[in-house]
């Protein structure tokens, strides 16, 4: 019997190896460049502790939505309905617990509000997950239709700002340090779950190759349901945070946020095809998106009406960078 050690160890050339490492952490140099650029052109954006805190505070809803999108992307799926879920769950809750004239005036209790907003998000997310994971509907079609349904439902129940909310209900999102704490806690918990639990690794496995994951005993159906349910809850919490930030539920709450969330996740290195990506990268993506937003609103160059366009450009750049990374990756693989 041969005891000769295998010489099959795969040695990459040093340059390929470091190139891949750089590509996987692309968000950090990009973030550094953007921060330097912002400091040079619109220094007010980042000059004081207060302004940095304001950036982080405004980043809370989008941060939660990036997490909501990231967990779907990591599992090899995606969720177009996150913004609509954030909007509908907040507006529906406002109608139930608000005491303004147009509200339903059911009950005026913040705690019922917290429970309700999260339950609505959880329920919608669960249905998304069930339809995609068990019934087998294409995630694009499923979440697109839910985007349209719940965005429409939000407008159907109320075209006015959702007001008359209990004071306590708007406290979590309205208290900057508390909101930032929720945001950071969400990222830390998310990171721990993805890295250190069997569920988190099962999400990566499902996203990498769902067939293989099933063969090694991962219950991919349950993983998909859980992923969408978590996505729904995170979206609902984002809706709650928006309501707190503005003290009312804005009539167009959630519109267009899914694009920002996509941009943040993708530029943060979360793969569009599943199985790859780090939570720290997603955090970098969120901060990047929010710094760009704040810098633009502090500069005279762009008006707020152009924000969505800028978001689109960021997403486009992120996708370009991602495809380049993918191409280099396959070239390195092919050259083995």
């Amino acid at each position: 019997m041969s005891t000769e050690r295998s010489t099959q160890r795969r040695w990459f050339s040093v340059s390929d190896d470091s190139l891949l490492t750089i590509l996987e952490h692309m968000i950090w140099p990009i973030l550094a460049i953007v921060i330097i650029g912002v400091l040079a052109t619109v220094p007010g954006t980042l000059s004081t502790f207060t302004s940095v805190r304001l950036i982080l505070w405004s980043a809370v809803p989008i941060g939660l939505l990036v997490l909501a999108e990231s967990i779907c992307l990591l599992s090899g799926h995606f969720d177009l309905s996150i913004g609509a879920v954030a909007g509908f769950s907040a507006m529906f809750t406002a109608m139930v617990i608000g005491n303004a004239p147009q509200d339903w005036n059911v009950v005026h209790n913040a705690w019922i509000g917290f429970a309700l907003v999260i339950s609505v998000g959880l329920l919608i997310g669960f249905v998304n997950g069930y339809m995609v994971g068990v019934v087998g509907i294409n995630p694009f079609l499923q979440t697109l239709s839910f985007l349209i349904i719940f965005q429409g439902a939000r407008t159907a129940i109320n075209t006015q700002p959702g007001s008359g909310l209990p004071h306590l209900f708007v406290q979590p999102g309205g208290t900057p340090d508390f909101a930032i704490g929720v945001f950071l806690l969400a990222f830390v918990l998310f990171g721990i779950v993805m890295r250190y639990t069997r569920f988190g690794q099962a999400v990566y496995a499902t996203g990498s190759d769902d067939h293989a994951a099933r063969e090694v005993g991962v219950s991919t159906e349950r993983v998909i349901i859980a992923v969408y349910a978590i996505s729904g809850v995170l979206s609902a919490v984002a809706g709650l945070m928006i309501a707190g930030y503005t003290s009312v539920v804005p009539p167009l709450i959630g519109d267009g946020l899914v694009f920002q969330a996509f941009a943040g996740a993708v530029i943060g290195g979360i793969s569009l095809f599943g199985g790859r990506g780090r939570v720290t990268g997603a955090l970098g993506g969120v901060i990047l998106i929010q710094i760009i937003q704040s810098a633009l609103s502090n500069s005279n160059l762009v008006s707020s009406t152009q924000n969505q366009m800028i978001n689109g450009i960021v997403l486009f750049v992120a996708i370009l960078l991602y495809s380049t990374q993918d191409r280099i990756r396959s070239r390195i693989l092919a050259s083995d």
């Binding site: 295998s6 099959q8 160890r9 795969r10 639990t197 690794q201 990566y204």
Partner: protein
């Protein structure tokens, strides 16, 4: 769950249904009107490398799926260590000590070697229901399997997509070993592999036999199997036409058995 005790019950001299590792008796599997397996009786001894060969549609995949718990036989029995067993699903077979390495290997390309080996069964630590993956232990155990049992050197933190075909087969075998099986069933382990990679896999399988494992290879290619295996069973149209040894059948004879179900001339 010790693999060592297989060696104590092993032995080529022990014959008969009650002492073989796996004894298959009058096994029959019917799909609709198609008879995939017809009255197959076969013994697989502990600690041997047994090859099950046959043309496409000869019934070898059906037999493999019955051994791995994916199918239930229509008729007949399977005995494991002399006891009758019936596997309702792959985890039943796994609990009993039979691990299957499928042809597609079921590897997750984006994940590293150790994660692939321990997916679904990570060692954890924590308090009560709060369990966290113990990564140090995961890498240590993976290293032990690759290093001690396979006698190889693979970078455990490298994504699986960077490995060659032969190495990927080894990683899939390593994952099977993580369940501490007594029997490993491999489906076409060397199809689509280069000669070098095939040798690498066979060297590994010989190592595992020395460690006391029983290995069943399901294959349609005979040439490279010949040097490795102890015995060969030939399936033809759902029937086991012959069980022979490499000493008793040359390549020509085996080819004839596969194609016609009879020894040539």
């Amino acid at each position: 769950m010790s693999t060592e005790d297989t060696t104590t019950t092993a032995g080529d001299t022990e014959e008969g249904s009650n002492t073989s590792k796996i004894h298959i008796e009058n096994l029959r599997k019917v799909f609709g009107r198609i008879v995939a397996l017809d009255d197959v009786t076969l013994d697989i001894q502990a600690n041997e490398i047994f090859a099950l060969i046959g043309d496409n549609g000869a019934g070898k995949s059906t037999l493999l799926n019955i051994l791995s718990g994916a199918y239930e036989p229509t008729d007949g029995r399977v005995y494991y260590d002399g006891e009758p067993v019936s596997f309702d699903n792959p985890s039943d077979a796994r609990d009993r000590g039979i691990e299957t390495v499928y042809q597609d290997l079921a590897l997750m390309n984006d994940l590293d070697v150790a994660t692939n080996i321990y997916m679904g069964k990570f060692p954890t630590r924590g308090v009560g229901p709060l369990r966290f993956i113990d990564w140090d232990e995961t890498y240590r155990q993976a290293e032990e399997i690759i290093d001690t049992r396979l006698n190889r050197d693979l970078q455990l933190d490298t994504e699986v997509e960077f490995f060659s075909g032969g190495e990927r087969q080894l990683i899939a075998i390593a994952r099977a070993l993580a369940f501490d099986p007594e029997v490993i069933v491999l489906d076409e382990p060397t199809s689509a592999l280069s000669v070098d990679a095939t040798n690498l896999v066979y060297e590994t399988l010989e190592n595992l036999r020395e460690q006391g494992l029983t290995i069943v290879i399901v294959s349609h290619s005979i040439e490279d199997v010949l040097d490795l295996v102890d015995r060969i069973g030939i399936l033809y149209h759902g029937e086991l036409v012959e069980v022979t040894t490499p000493a008793d059948a040359d390549l020509e004879t085996l080819t004839s058995l596969i194609v016609t179900g009879q020894r040539g001339e």
